[in-house]
Amino acid sequence: MSINLHSRRNFLKLTASGISGSVLSSLLNQAAGSVIPMRHHQAKAKSVIFLYMSGGVSHVDSFDPKPMLKKFHGKPMPGKIERTQFDANGNITASPWEHRKWGQSGLEMTDMFPKIAGRADDLAIVRSLTAKFSEHAQGNFFMHTGFPFLGYPSAGAWVNYGCGSVNPNLPGYVVLKSKHATTPHGGVSIFGNAFLPATTQGSIFDIAANHAVPHISPAMLKTEQRRALDLIGKLDKRFADKVAAKDAVMASVANAETAFLMQEAVPDLTDISGESAATKAMYGIDSPNVHKAGYGRQCLMARRLVERGVRFVELSCASHGIGGGGGGNPWDQHSDLQKGHAAMAEQVDGPIAALIADLKQRGMLEETLLVFTGEFGRTPFSQGSNGRDHNPYGFTAWLAGGGLKGGVAHGATDEFGYRAVENIATVYDLWATVLHQLGIDHEKLTFRWSGRDLRLTDVHGEVWSDLIA
């Protein structure tokens, strides 16, 4: 295995640095823009759908209900309080949402996400997740890349580096965006490939725009473009024959052909006229709530992308502009939490539940791993009168499908939901588990850069084996 890994690494390094050695050419020609898959063990999942809740969902109001908050409502928080970002810490605040047991499994959740809670028996909830940063951009980078600032590959890029792409006409990592959804704080580098091959980078599909991918709309008619490409191909062929860069030039010609095909693949993807009325209704894409309709369309698109072999799809929430939640951090209710979280939950609850149901009924849930998380949770005590501040010391993520058990929980926070205390989990563990389900040993998925063998999980990461079916 290690021999393969080494040669594979060298191959990637060479292609990345564009050395025009003839040894590489055939590979480049075969798969302009794809990477060779690697598996360390039998994969259960083929794709990941990352439901990123930018801004930070309040776990104590949703997936990690805490009766003690009601009991101690209005009382000062006991124990040491870490530095918060807005430094306006108030007293313990009860959740405005009621909680109960859901499904056969009896997982405790509030009714903030009633439809997702209705899928309780499909969920593997991690209630002891921790992060290291109280600030959005660093939190976003950390959650996506394992490092707090730009320059490191996003999980989606690592997954593609490890698993390779199936569909040469679509990028392997797609970030979906609908109206009013903007890039989380930190910018597009949170979806970046950094030092990994550029083919692994996240491509943003704006499904509200006319052309979902930059420059995907042909500048001319297809026949005209064909003629142009044929002429360019002739010129390039002559150039390739003339200079000692034949392989690189021809790979780039092949690439232009791939691009040509992508122009068709993307419109085909976004054309949902073939979906049944029932399906569309289930996802809520005709909802009068434009945010919900947009998120519903993203969920549907996520399924269609996964169907087409895309490895990693990330969804983006839209902002309702309530209580501090802006475009880059829609869940960020430093005030008006009840109103803001209710609106945000309404946006994603039905569509996500529909996505789970739809994947399940199509037999796809087993090989599609859903991950739901924000960059941190929120404090059990108030910020100001009716908000909650950032809390990276203990919060909740949930996963579903992809060979994981349903109706189970991992870890716990303290009685107030402030700090993770049981089975303390890290972002590294999350990605170690995701990679594991994809058949990859996170410790072996490395890339040598800047003198070090770098990993998505840095030097950490434990697989949550108790969640694996």
Binding site: D87, L235, A244, N255, G451
Partner: protein
């Protein structure tokens, strides 16, 4: 690796039981101790020990464990799994894991040892301590320092080449020798058209205009070639292209990234500095000195034309770090950005990954964890700042004249005011002053003037008592302070760290004054003793900070005045102020204690007080006039009140004050005294200065310009004329000397585990000099970087220049000359170039000229048929390796071709971390986070889509085809096609190409030429240098 899989390959070996431990000879012992144990300890024990980690279920740290592992067959290296593993033999797991292969010398030692029968003196299982003590760092370091790049440069005479055209210079001779010894033939020279294009693209990042191609093709002589090289290297476009390479090495960016992506203020000053420096061929040693300590040079490099102190711009590279937003863990943030500073400096200058030694000694190179923290201390002793980079001359412009003028004005205004005392007193009496704060010099007058005579004394006493009590309370608070600094005291002020032409070395005495540069009044203010920035002009700047202080207590405050300036408590040198946690307080023209918010939040964190003129804030790019004055800084649990300067603090016979009349008399006498002292430039008290100011600022003493006698008015006008000549300083990001700081080593890199402080200094492998002189150590660092015994500095830069000329460095890993990097393909040539570079004034242009003038550079870009596939990566340079252009050169080329003139160049596009230019990013513009000596050259569909469907090629095609259409000289399709080809490729179309293009044109409509131009803009030949 599981031992079982190993054993599978070794079935014969199983039969041989290991020899029982027996006495070993002194010779064997010596061999083991010098050759075997150190390698086992360094490369194997970490994973295979009997204390805490037994990978594969075996340990190698004592004889018993080694025997039990059954990986050695004493006397038979070939059958020993250990030997096969370290040889990286097929079917054996390559060891050590995740590390470079052991050197052949070491492998031979192990074979020898096994042959000897693997004598092993380690008879007992080691304890944890014993295990640790076996890895002697200095021995490890010294062994690692045997790596080629740490060896002294070797000077070898270039071997002579039998081919005359390869015998003209050292580069060619070495290359030719390499070709010969590898059995390779050199390729013939490229045709002149190809050469002229290659030269243009390599030297300027722009293709040649067709006219230039024609000229050179008509006369491709050696003289013409040399002239072309010289003219291209003299063009400003050279610096725009090579300056961008430099910016890659220092991860140039104009924003800090993270939430809000705040600007690096004045970042572009650095970009322009680099371009100017490359164009001016500033010696490399000078640039390195400037990059580390340019603000501290005694004889800075001055640009008179722009009025800049160029040297002072160099340290801007230290501020090209990323920053987190509104960080809650400031120490962690400091580690992150300081690590980035160290990373960029050591990679860019030394191609060494010192950053890898943050948590432990370097895994492969002779760099210790101490080395990392030595540099950390230097960085933290140099605080984030905005630097005034005006030339010394501009910084001092008219300062002497204005100082002299101000002296004259004391006399003239002073005597004029003394003549106005009665008048001024009358004005005071007449004027309704409203309610005044207790600290105002005229407060007593307002308070007492209408008090009934019998209550007068009581009121006065009450005022005095209250003032006395408030003073005592302040004194008590200061005594209990966790931090208190009285900047009015010269010795205390000397403990602060200041830069800026507004700040002198001395505390300004009471009576110091500032003149108004505009408006109806002559004076801005007359001040008590303090530290001010605007006594010449409020265009001058000031940046002042305190020693480190660990925050403790409820609040921090400064007593200060100012306009458009700020004060803050900077936690762990965090320079930003976005969000709530790192506030900055704006200063106001009236003196007061200003609260520095969030100090309590940062209790137990280390920081420093900072006060600066507006544009010198490290977190915004405000400009314009600004000034401050500061008196005291405080932190603790109390609160201080500014008591101002009531009459109680004036000298004089306070007992004489009994009623309104005697109060007036006291004021009058005090006013006369104050004005006389001020006029004479004699020592006066703060209260006297403020009494004077109270009369001048209210116009009781003449201050309005139109009320002044002609002589005084002329003085004011003269001041304003001089002041107008002074400019708002040019600024750059940079660092300022702060408290020299030896950073405690952080165990495993964790800031929660501070160990002993590490004295600042240089890398052990180069002698590890300690920096104990006053100052951050940046000057010493620059000297050590450039010292003769630094084996890396010269090799690294000439290799970088080689890389950007030939497309691949002599050392392919331009940013890593360590064990994980590549070895040089031509070590003698590299050393020759590096020595030559140092000996000839560190001229980068001279080196680049040597490279492009060489025969090797001029080879055609095809593989010589005779060579077959003998050197597939063309390491020996039998031919010129064609390569895709860099992102900026692609954009510039497309635009140049469209207009046949140099466009606004891509190097000037903004570099915003969270919004990198999409076109450039698509073509591998590097993420500005770390040194990039070799850019990626990827091949992805997004590139094809950008060129096929994007606006840049679309617009260029329209412009280009219009130009062709408008050219009356082009009458036929073949002529027009030829013109397009000359423009795009510096050559004419072949008949087959003409036919293909003609056929294409025939199938298109009215905009056929736009379509054809667009196709050519999508062709690979356009974006390749070959």
């Amino acid at each position: 690796m599981k031992i079982r899989t190993l054993l599978y390959c070794l079935s014969i070996g199983l039969a041989c039981a290991p020899q029982p431990a027996a006495g070993i000879t002194a010779q064997e012992l010596e061999f083991f101790e010098s050759k075997i144990r150190p390698v086992l300890a360094e490369s194997c024990y970490e994973c295979h020990n009997s204390v805490d980690k037994m990978k594969g279920d075996f340990a190698l740290d004592y004889k018993g464990a080694l025997d039990a592992a059954e990986i050695i067959i004493p006397g038979d290296p070939e059958k020993s799994t250990l030997i096969q593993s370290i040889r990286h033999a097929e079917d054996f797991e390559a060891m050590p894991d995740k590390a470079p292969k052991l050197s052949n010398l070491v492998i031979r030692d192990f074979e020898k040892w096994v042959l000897m029968g693997a004598p092993d003196p380690r008879l007992t299982k080691p304890t944890k301590e014993e295990l640790e003590s076996q890895v002697d760092w200095s021995a490890v370091r010294d062994r690692r320092a045997q790596w080629w790049s740490f060896q002294p440069l070797k000077k070898t005479n270039p071997p002579s080449a039998e081919a005359a055209d390869w015998n003209r210079n050292a580069v060619d001779r070495f290359i030719f020798a390499g070709l010969k010894s590898n059995g390779l033939s050199p390729q013939a020279e490229a045709d002149p058209g190809t050469l002229v294009r290659r030269l243009h693209l390599v030297l300027t990042g722009l293709p040649p205009a067709p006219e230039l191609v024609d000229t050179f093709v008509a006369d491709p002589s050696e003289t013409a070639y040399a002239a072309l090289v010289d003219s291209l290297m003299a063009s400003k476009h050279y610096g725009e292209h090579w300056g961008r390479h430099w910016m890659d090495w220092f991860r140039y960016a104009e924003s800090y990234g993270s939430e809000g992506d705040p600007a690096v203020p004045f970042a572009q000053q650095y970009r322009d500095y680099v371009i100017r420096a490359i164009n001016a061929d500033v010696p490399y040693d000078q640039l390195i000195r400037e990059h580390l300590a340019g603000d501290l040079l005694e004889n800075p490099r001055v640009n008179d034309e722009l009025g800049l102190n160029e040297s002072a711009i160099g340290p801007a590279q230290m501020r090209m770090v990323p920053h987190g937003f509104a960080v809650t863990d400031a120490y962690d943030e400091q580690i992150t950005f300081t690590d980035n500073q160290i990373d960029a400096v050591t990679k860019a200058m030394l191609a060494t990954t010192v950053s890898c030694a943050r948590c432990h000694n370097h895994k492969f190179d002779p760099i210790s964890q101490n080395d990392f923290y030595k540099l950390y201390g230097i960085m933290v002793s140099s605080r984030p700042a905005i630097v005034n980079v005006d030339s010394p001359k501009l910084q001092q412009l008219h300062v002497d004249e204005i100082e002299k003028l101000k002296k004259d004005m004391r006399r003239s205004f002073g005597s004029h005011w003394l003549g106005e005392v009665d008048d001024a007193m009358a004005k005071m009496e007449k004027t309704d002053l409203g309610k005044l704060p207790e600290g105002d010099a005229l407060h007593a007058w307002v308070r007492l003037k209408d008090v009934a005579p019998d209550l007068f004394q009581r009121e006065l006493d009450e005022m005095k008592a209250k003032h006395q009590a408030a003073m005592e309370s302040n004194e008590k608070t200061k005594k209990e302070a966790t931090f208190y600094s009285d900047l009015r005291d010269q010795a205390t002020f000397d403990q602060w760290f200041g830069t800026g032409n507004g700040l002198g070395a001395k505390v300004s005495p009471a009576g110091s004054f500032a003149l108004a540069p505009e408006g109806e009044n002559a004076f801005t203010g007359i001040y008590p003793r303090g530290v001010y920035t605007h006594l010449i002009t409020d265009k001058h700047n000031g940046f002042l900070n305190s020693k480190f202080h660990v925050a403790e207590g409820e609040r921090a405050m400064v007593r200060a005045v100012g306009s458009a300036s700020i004060a803050r408590f900077s936690v762990r040198s965090y320079p930003l102020s976005q969000g709530l946690l790192h506030p900055a307080a704006g200063l106001k023209p009236n003196s007061q204690w200003v609260n520095l918010n969030k100090y309590d939040y940062w209790n137990n964190e280390k920081g420093y007080f900072q006060i600066n003129t507006g544009a010198d804030s490290t977190f915004n790019t405000g400009g314009g006039r600004s000034w401050f004055g500061i008196y005291e800084a405080y932190a603790g649990n109390g609160s201080l009140r500014d008591l101002g300067y009531p009459i109680a603090s004036l000298p004089g016979d306070h007992g004489s004050i009994r009623d309104r009349a005697s109060l007036l008399a006291f004021y009058k006498k005090s006013l006369q005294d104050a004005a006389s002292l001020w006029m004479e430039d004699a020592a006066m008290s703060d209260a006297q200065s403020q009494l004077l100011d109270a009369f001048v600022s209210r116009g009781f003493f003449a201050n309005k310009i139109d009320t002044l006698p002609a002589v005084l008015k002329a003085q004011v006008e003269n001041y304003r004329k001089l002041e107008k000549d002074i400019r708002i300083p040019a600024r750059a990001p940079g660092v300022a000397e702060g408290e020299p700081w030896d950073q405690p080593l952080l165990e495993r890199g964790s800031h929660k585990e501070e160990k002993e402080p590490v004295t600042r200094g240089f890398l052990e492998v180069f002698g590890g000099k300690k920096y104990e002189a006053p100052g951050s150590g940046r000057r010493e660092l620059a000297a050590d970087m450039l010292a003769e015994d630094n084996t890396l500095i010269g090799r690294v830069i000439v290799n970088r220049l080689w890389h950007h000329t030939f497309g691949q460095g002599i050392v392919a890993s331009t940013d890593n000359f360590g064990r994980l990097g590549k070895e040089p393909t031509h070590p003698e040539l590299l050393d020759h170039l590096a020595s030559d570079f140092r000996e000839n004034g560190w001229s980068m242009k001279r080196t680049v000229r040597q490279l492009v003038i060489s025969r090797a550079f001029r080879s055609a870009s095809t593989v010589p048929a005779a060579n077959g596939d003998k050197d597939p990566l063309n390491l020996q340079l039998a031919y010129f390796t064609p390569r895709r252009l860099g992102a900026e050169a692609i954009l510039d080329t497309i635009r140049f071709v469209a207009g046949n003139k140099v466009p606004e160049r891509a190097v000037y596009n903004p570099v915003i971390r969270n919004e990198l230019d999409p076109f450039l990013a698509t073509f591998n513009f590097p993420i500005p986070i770390s040194t990039v000596g070799v850019r990626d050259l990827t091949n992805v569909p997004a590139q094809a889509l950008t060129l096929m469907n994007g606006n840049i090629t679309k617009d260029a095609a329209i412009q280009w085809s219009r130009r062709i259409a408008a050219d009356g000289a082009l009458k036929t399709d073949p002529a027009r096609i030829d013109s397009l080809f000359m423009q795009a490729y510096s050559r004419r179309a072949t008949p087959a190409e003409t036919d293909a293009c003609t056929a294409y044109l025939a199938g298109e409509g009215a905009d056929a030429y736009t379509r054809l131009a667009h196709a050519l803009l999508n062709s690979k030949e356009l974006i390749y240098v070959h």
